[in-house]
Amino acid sequence: MLILDRSTYDGIVAHAKRDHPDEACGIVAGPEGTDRAERLVEMVNAAGSPTFYEFDSADLLRLYRDLDDRDEEPVVIYHSHTATEAYPSRTDIGLANEPGAHYVLVSTREHGNNDGPVEFRSYRIVDGEVTEEDVTVVDSLPATTSPASPTSQGDPDDR
């Protein structure tokens, strides 16, 4: 299961709507080994295309150096589909190189740049095999010391 806080979820959706009809892409970073999606990093789609996305090569290096310096990893890798369903394409599967990441797909095919619901789905992609998982949105991520709880309402002091 993928747990996202509301502001990260909303940030990914807003990015996808803003870049429609081109595909939007980015990551959510978190401390290594924790599976906590804490820090949304929007990336530029260097392909600038409605059917393809690719992080710019220099941006990619900067991103991974930054993650290294912070002892973080890409917990989520997201991108949008702008004319098709929120399911990994054959290209997505072939190029999925982070077996530990949650691959999030957002489809903006229904409302484009406008308000309205989007399809928002998450997958594991390992060795070409796609497994869908639930997405749970919480007000804020559970405290680091307690186990992940999808019913957490967060501590008012952290808001």
Partner: protein, 94 residues
């Protein structure tokens, strides 16, 4: 001469899970051959043969001292003692 090569997660099965290994070679292609001799199978993940010529795979990025090797001559890119080479698979899809 020794060059540090940073290995991405997806290729760590070839390096015994090490994030960084050392290799020798005056060019990127020599360096990759040296990597292959110590970590068999890794070369195939980095290069491909197309129309009879060997080139870096389209969706593998290699940097020498933070410069994408595509701007340094690709597999012919010169490498020298103390350089740092970083391998990162593209983050891309359709």
């Amino acid at each position: 001469m020794t060059v540090e090569v940073r290995i991405p997660t997806i290729l760590r099965p070839y390096t015994g899970d090490r994030k960084s290994v050392e290799a020798d070679g005056a060019s990127l292609s020599a360096l990759i051959d040296d990597l292959e001799s110590n970590h068999p199978g890794i070369k195939e993940r980095l290069v491909e043969t197309k129309d009879g010529s060997v080139d870096l795979r389209r969706f593998v990025n290699v940097y020498v001292n933070d410069e994408d090797v595509r701007f340094l001559g690709g597999l012919d890119a010169p490498v020298s003692d103390g350089d740092q080479v970083v391998v990162l698979p593209a983050v891309a899809g359709g």
